[in-house]
Symmetry: C2
Subunit: 329 residues, 2 copies
DNA sequence: ATGAAAGCGCTAACAA
DNA sequence: TTGTTAGCGCTTTCAT
C-alpha cells in the first residue's frame, strides 16, 4: 500500500499539498494538482480512512439499533436507511439487540470507543435513564420507538392514533370481544398503543376480559400459539388486535390449518402493513406505517445533527398512519 | 474524553504500562495493574478504537455484500452472521448492492481504504474477473453465491442438486409442462440450478417451451406478473419452478385473487424455505436451504482467515439441501 | 501558493 | 518488570 508520502515524493511536492488535493482545498496550483493526481493514479493510491478518522475525530459511521433484522419491518427500514446513508458516504452498522438489555449496552459502548458518530435507536430494551448518559458521547435519536422522558430528536408515528383507529374499525365492523397482543414492556410505543386501544373500547362502552391480553408476542409462532389458546377459552374473543403483521399472519395461518373461519369466527387486525399482509389468505387488514419515510427522515435528521445543523434537543417529527382494509376483519 | 496519557499520569506509570494492562500483557506487577485499573475507572477511560486500528492495522470489521436486506433470505442470513460476529467482537457492515454493478464496486473499495478486514460475498453483480483483484487487499469469500473461476473459500449449497430434486419432485407428481423463473444472469448459482432443472427434464424425456422461461424475477410483484402472463398463454404450463419463495408467494397470492386452483391448475415450487412458505395458503412446497448453518460457517471461515488459519485458496464447504413438501405441488 | 512540523491516541521495539 | 522512543497515515496550524 502506498501512502501520502509516496505520492508526495513521486510528485515532487510535500505531503501537505497532496492532502490539499485530496480534500479539494483551494490554493493549489493547477500544475501541481495535475502532478499529484498523476502520481496517485500511478501508485494506485487510496487514502487510509483510519488515519483520516483519527486525525479528523470522525468515523462517517452510524449505528442503528433494532431487535432483529429478520423482522420484515426492520429489514425494510434498514434497507431504506442503508441506501440513503450510502448516498451520503456514510456507513451503517446494524446492531441487533435480540431483545437483550446487555447486548444493547454493549452496542451503545461503540459510541464511547469512538467507533461511530451517531446512534439511531429503533428499539429500546433498557430504561431510558440507563441510556441517556450516552448522549454525552454522540448524538442519539429515536426512530419509530420512543420514550417520553428522552429529550432527543424523535421520528415516529402517532401510535396512539394508529391503535385507536384500528380498534375503532373493529368495533364499527360489529366485533365486541376484542383481544390484544403486545410486547412485554408497557413503555413508549407499546404504552401508547395500549392507551389508544382502551380509549376506543371505552368510547364504545365495551368491556375487556383480562384473559384476552397476550404478552411477549413477536413471532409468527407466537401468533399460532395465541390462536390455539383462544380456541381453548370459554369466553372466546371474536376479534384480535395484534402488534405486528407477523403475529397476525401466524394467527391466520394457524386458523387455516385448524379450519377456523377468518373473519367470521375471528377477525384479525395486523400492524405495519408488511409485504406479508398482502400474501396471506385472507388478506390482512392492518395499520400502515410509512417505513420508507420514517427511515429516510431519520437518516436526514442524523446527518443534519452530524453537520451541526438541526437541534439536538427534543424535536418531534410525526408521520401519518392509516388503516389498510383487506379481508381479515 | 480521557486518553491513555491521562490514565498514565494519574496512575503514576508510563503509557506503555497502561497499554499493557489494556492488552492483558504479562509482566505487569499486580500493584501497578491495580493502580492503572483504578485510574481508568476514575477517568471513565475507554480506549479509542480508531487509534488502535491505525496502530494495529486492523479494523475488526467485515463487510457482507447482499442484493438487498429486505429479501427475507438475506435478512435471516445477516441476522445469523451478525450474532456470530458480535460474539467474536467483530462489527458487520451490511452492504446492499441493489443489483447494481457500480454500487458493488463502491463497496468493494472499502477494502482498499482499509475500512474493513474482509468481505463476504453473498451476491455478485460484476464479472469475477473485475472483482478478483480486490483479493489482494483483504480476504474475500463466497457465501451461497459462487463463481467457478474464483479461487477463494466458498460456503455454499449444491444448487444443481437442489434444482434437480425439486424438478424431479414435480415430475413424479405427474406435472409435464414445467415453467421456470430465474435471475437474468446465467452464472454461478443460477446456472447450476438451470442445469439441474434441465437434467431432470431430460431424464424424464420432457420438452420445454421457451415461453415458459421467466427472467429477472425477484420480487413478490414479479410472481404476480408471471401468473398473469401464464394465464394468457395458449400453451399453458401445469407447474412452475421458481428461484425464490418470494416469487412463488406472489404467484400463489395472485392465484387466490384470480381463483386459480393451486396445485390443481398450477403447481408451484419455491426455493429457500423462508418463513413465508409456511404462511401462504396453500402452503408452499420448497427447497430448504440451511441459512443458519451457511451464515455461521461463513463467519467461522472468515474468522479463521483473519487469524491466519484456514486456507485463502479455494476451499469448498457444501451444505445439505432438501425438499420440504407442503400443499402447492 | 507551498511546506515544515506538530500531533490525533495508541502499540511495540528496544533498552535498561 | 518498566519506560523511552518511534512511528501508524493523515490533516492543519503557522510560517514563508
Amino acid at each position: 500500500m502506498s501512502t501520502i508520502e509516496d505520492v508526495a515524493k513521486l510528485a515532487g511536492v510535500s505531503k501537505t499539498t497532496v492532502s490539499r488535493v485530496l480534500n479539494d482545498h483551494p490554493y493549489v496550483a493547477e500544475g501541481k494538482k495535475a502532478l499529484v493526481q498523476k502520481a496517485m493514479e500511478e501508485l494506485l493510491y487510496v487514502p487510509n480512512s483510519t488515519a483520516q478518522r483519527l486525525r479528523k475525530q470522525t468515523t462517517q459511521t452510524i449505528a442503528v439499533l433494532i431487535p432483529r433484522i429478520s423482522n420484515p419491518f426492520f429489514s425494510k427500514m434498514v434497507e431504506v436507511m442503508e441506501n440513503m446513508a450510502a448516498d451520503h458516504g456514510l456507513q451503517l452498522v446494524v446492531c441487533q439487540t435480540m431483545y437483550d438489555k446487555q447486548r444493547e449496552l454493549v452496542y451503545l459502548d461503540l459510541v464511547k470507543t469512538k467507533q461511530i458518530d451517531g446512534v439511531i435507536l429503533a428499539s429500546l430494551e433498557n430504561d431510558w435513564e440507563d441510556v441517556k448518559d450516552y448522549t454525552n458521547f454522540a448524538p442519539i435519536i429515536f426512530c419509530n420507538e420512543y420514550d417520553d422522558r428522552a429529550k432527543v430528536p424523535t421520528v415516529r408515528l402517532n401510535q396512539f392514533e394508529g391503535a385507536y383507529i384500528g380498534t375503532k374499525h373493529l368495533i364499527e365492523k360489529g366485533y365486541r370481544k376484542i383481544a390484544k397482543c403486545r410486547g412485554a414492556n408497557l413503555t413508549g410505543l407499546v404504552a401508547d398503543r395500549q392507551r389508544g386501544f382502551f380509549q376506543a373500547l371505552d368510547e364504545a362502552g365495551l368491556s375487556f376480559d383480562n384473559d384476552w391480553m397476550f404478552l411477549e408476542t413477536q413471532l409468527v409462532e407466537d401468533g399460532r400459539k395465541v390462536l390455539r389458546k383462544m380456541l381453548s377459552m370459554k369466553n372466546r374473543p371474536d376479534a384480535v388486535f395484534t402488534g405486528s403483521d407477523e403475529v397476525a399472519a401466524g394467527i391466520i395461518s394457524e386458523a387455516a390449518r385448524l379450519h377456523v373461519k377468518i373473519p367470521d369466527e375471528l377477525a384479525v387486525l395486523g400492524f405495519d402493513n408488511q409485504q406479508i399482509a398482502a400474501l396471506v389468505n385472507p388478506g390482512l387488514t392492518t395499520i400502515h406505517q410509512p417505513i420508507d419515510q420514517i427511515g429516510k427522515l431519520s437518516i436526514k435528521v442524523m446527518i443534519d445533527l452530524l453537520h451541526g445543523e438541526g437541534n439536538v434537543d427534543k424535536h418531534l417529527k410525526e408521520l401519518p398512519i392509516y388503516l389498510v382494509e383487506r379481508s381479515s376483519t
